[in-house]
Symmetry: D2
Subunit: 364 residues, 4 copies
């Protein structure tokens, strides 16, 4: 497979371009017998559209998903499930001047070289954050499948935007708070500060990055196929399919590297007749395999590359220095839109492994 598909047993294929006719996805390998309609997917797609106040972008994506195969009388059939969203509100002209001026932080330059100028550059083409809608199309199905078959739940939230961090530890009861604010941070106090930070950056024509935390609970013990399809390998591979992601860590991650073994080891305990660990520095994964504790990840997003400020760059045609001013509609910060995308890719990966190991049956 060559770039636009992910998964071994449950395979998502993504297609479409930001300013083309559609963005779409095919999910192959989903068991027959899952009750499914567009609403299951639409709900998560809608969560990609946060409050308008914090977004520079005025593009009304609509993002109405249509299932065009694989579902019959309200249930999946075992055939590939294909879905599309029609693109309606493209303003390609905004992007025309980008054809030769390389945008810092964007894929323009390597994509031009790689595809010998045949690349569809409009609105970022295949490289647009808009394509994460295709991850959500498949991920919403995987997430429902996991919930129904194994009671697995995956959630994520904005833990940091720029230098503003949520200091409180995440607890399960916070889940319902995540989508109550525009930045998707479950702590009301922090979310307010984050929003201010975004508005401030936007005013300066600047952008912000941040960190998403992901927590997946009720994962059965034993998922993951070491050595090369460890859960960490496959989850990280999936996460880096999100534009702007530049780092990932599981459990105590980079900070754990500074601890002693005696501090970082999670001691095993019996809890209500079940084997658990006292702490969860491993992020729920030992030896690449789930150990039954929550799977926890932190994912680092770089600040949005499209800034309104003028930037020095090179014109690839003239091979000369030039000054670029990016137009078009851009988010000052993508973090608020990221949680459903992260949840989708986590769900796809975990469901893939649950199918491989037989924890989810080939037909329900």
């Amino acid at each position: 497979m060559i770039g636009n598909s992910i998964g071994n047993r449950l395979v998502l294929t993504s297609f479409g371009e930001s300013h083309g006719k559609v963005v779409g996805a095919v999910l192959d390998g989903c068991p027959a017998g899952l009750e499914l309609d567009e609403k299951d997917i639409q709900k998560m797609l809608d969560q990609r559209r946060p409050g308008q106040s914090i977004l520079a972008t005025q593009r009304k994506e609509g993002d109405i998903v249509e299932i065009i195969s694989g579902v019959f009388r309200g249930f999946t059939t075992g055939a590939p499930i294909s879905m599309i969203i029609k693109n309606s509100d493209q303003k390609s002209n905004d992007y025309e001047n980008l054809r030769t001026q390389l945008r810092p932080g964007h894929s323009d330059y390597p994509a031009m070289i790689k595809y010998n100028k045949f690349n569809d550059h409009r609105g970022g083409g295949r490289f647009s954050g808009r394509l994460t809608a295709t991850h959500v199309m498949g991920g919403a199905i995987a997430r429902k499948l996991l919930k129904i078959t194994l009671d697995v739940e995956t959630n994520s939230f904005t833990q940091q935007i720029g230098k503003i961090k949520m200091e409180k530890n995440f607890e399960k009861k916070m889940i319902k708070e995540i989508y109550k604010n525009e930045v998707r941070c479950p702590d009301a106090n922090t979310s307010k500060k984050m929003k201010d930070e975004i508005l401030k950056a936007r005013k300066k024509g600047d952008t912000l990055g941040g960190i998403i935390q992901s927590i997946t609970t009720n994962v059965p013990v034993g998922l993951g196929e070491p050595i090369f399809n460890s859960l960490e390998s496959d989850l990280s591979k999936a996460m880096f399919a999100i534009p702007s992601v530049k780092g990932i860590e599981f459990g105590s991650g980079f900070q754990g590297s500074e601890l002693f073994g005696s501090e970082n080891n999670d001691l095993f305990i019996m809890k209500k007749g079940k084997i658990e660990t006292k702490t969860n520095n491993s992020g729920g994964i030992l030896g690449g395999i789930s150990n039954g504790m929550p799977i926890t990840m932190r994912i680092a997003f770089k600040p949005v590359s499209s800034i309104a400020q003028k930037q020095q760059t090179v014109d690839i045609k003239t091979k000369k220095q030039s000054i670029l001013q990016v137009k078009g509609r851009h988010d000052p910060c993508v973090l608020p839109r990221a949680p459903p995308v992260v949840d989708s890719l986590v769900a796809l990966t975990i469901a893939d492994h649950a199918l491989i190991s037989g924890k989810i049956k080939a037909t329900l």
Copy 2:
């Protein structure tokens, strides 16, 4: 593929166990016509064996690699290259008491559940760090292939052990310093401190983690297959195949998340007639594709899980709390052994992509 193979066009399959007869690897897809003999591989394998003073382990691995197929008259033939190292010095009895007492931080528990007690637990079995020798077998070949065909060079070094960090920025001329000391840190001053830190931890029966930095130069523009086989996706997937790795970041990574777009964007410049970027916060990858700048990664290793101190745990047979004292021979810190493993997996991933995109020919 189900866990023990990695790569699309250049595929490494790993086999063997820590205390079995052999550890070995098959590399499929290597072009015919690469000059190769055991010495090319042995050299990198030997670098996995650092100075004895900092290691608790007295196991003399020897690690003499033998190529058993795929090479004829000193050149690769295009057939799969298979290699083995015979295991000679196993002391399995040391591990017998681990069968039921779960070792904190190890895969014992999920592996027992997953493989229903059929798992070969001796010396960690498939989960042992020893298996990284199989990555090096394949990686040494990929690294030579990259050097000869594209002049690509990949190197890595110990940037941090516990809380001891190398503060200097890495420069190309430091490469030759890396293997001059036992901890594989190119800065003499820092390396001395790191060694002391390891000896101190070892004395306390404790262990340390740390961070490896990897730099790959001369990568042609255009490697990487977005969306799901981006260079970042495939490199991170490969890195998490190393036991103890719990985090990875490219370029400015987690720290970049705190910057503004105007700070983190790498401006394009002309340099000696070539397009480059002024900074390299992207770590040489834009939109999942190489941009010609050095590919830089930082990889976080947790502290070694096998500590000499007593630890609280659970006996899986009795389902009761118990006290564990891990015996056997263990490293107080694996970082000094990690650079050749990191280099191997980077080389395998980059060479795979160079073959996919035709930058390396199918036959030399």
Copy 3:
């Protein structure tokens, strides 16, 4: 990958159902820079619709293909090319009584068991011959790619229907005769007999099978990856993705099994400074690799399973014997529609291998 995708470097994913909203395909891995529009595909799709006189089916499929991604300003971009055909003329009620009465020769029974009754049975669902339109969508692109880059041409024709055989040997000049008659047999005399045979069978409420011969010329020496991705392995795998195919042979095939080695061996000769073979009993493939001679295959199709005559069967609900009379619109013989499908799957397979071996570049 789990059933609905084929290829390693050039991957076709098929989706849709006979009586669903669409049938469609995604082609991933096609090089950027191929000039392409719907007409290139439509032409081959139209060849799937032979003359109405020999077909019982009155279904007007229309089969208007729409490219919905991967093409920009008339050229492929390197992104996945997705295509759909909207289904317009479904009469699902005709099939309703098939839900419990198992149709002999059809997938009803194993599909019901496999998918636990969630299978979309309407018009055969995923198992309908209609799905071969998705092979043609991708195949038309691969065929154009092969022609433009390597001058490879692949053609096939009806060599036998029922017991009526074309006795003449196929010659290159016959190619232009193939589509001049309704049965796609380049010999006018035989084609007339074949048509009569079909009309006769149809009158009796019966159906016919037959044999398609495929010839691919100008294939470069050296395509095919032994042992398990030999050209024969991958071509045969592709052919059996066509409903009704039950046999395949290369070169002298089954008949060659009765010859002596001295009779069947193709002697090497020099011809116009080029190495060729005197005969082509190998069908252009030696050791799984193309040898530069035309690749020749014969593909056996069973007679159409849907006959108008009454048949004994079992009702899966009552588990009792019953009498079935298949309604709906069916072809008395699918051979006349098969050549573009065979050509498509041959082209996809050969193009995949040409990309793997670097004979076609990753970007044109």
Copy 4:
């Protein structure tokens, strides 16, 4: 994957050369908990060595298999099972003159072009029939796995050699007769004629081909993943990994193409409370999925290419016509050695599908 691996969930990787140090295999994805030792594999390997009287070859292969990973205390562990056979009796000098004179029917020519003369030509290298021992190594395990978990049995026999056919229909009770004679034909009368035919051909310095029939019983309903991983697709792909195979058919195959639908359709009947079909023209596969009836295939082998007679050919160095006389030790007919190889590849394919669909558990 690029040629030397087969399977999705149960993956066999083959390595080694005819005259290299070893031939070997890695089987990945075999469930933990299968009782296994070398004897299970050796038995099938020994069946590849038929009676010496009918074989020209005096090479004593020995073929002693050694399991070098993946088995612990007599049971598979879930880790990759690797196996080797050391090559002991190579006489490479016999083959030296083949380096430039192209042997008709062999891979010499395309392999030289493909691998740019780096190919290991000794004894056929990777293209030697000897490599089928690697299929048997993996296949013997898959066959045992199928028998123990699902009571699936796969057997094959020599149905035709040259023009000598076994006319009797195969019945289950004949299985125990297959290995009672040197040609592996269960009918004593026919087997005698076949042996005579082989001896006669050998005397003339000529060779024979023939047909193997394969029957697999007790296959559960529902194996196979349409469209592109149909059972027929995957079985045929596997069969063409055997050197000399040039054709395959399922059920009534090529002959079925000449029948009417009313003749070829298998009518459903109730038999002892079970749904079966009256006839088995489909070869146990409908719509690419097993229907519970025996899976039957016929596989056509071309006559052995290495004949003792002089043949006209081309010298690739001088580009001139020349006369070749093949030396070395060769079989006049490979059919007698083929049944265990066919059984192995059938077992690998069926077991792969049984794992994909969950009919065999990931851990026993």
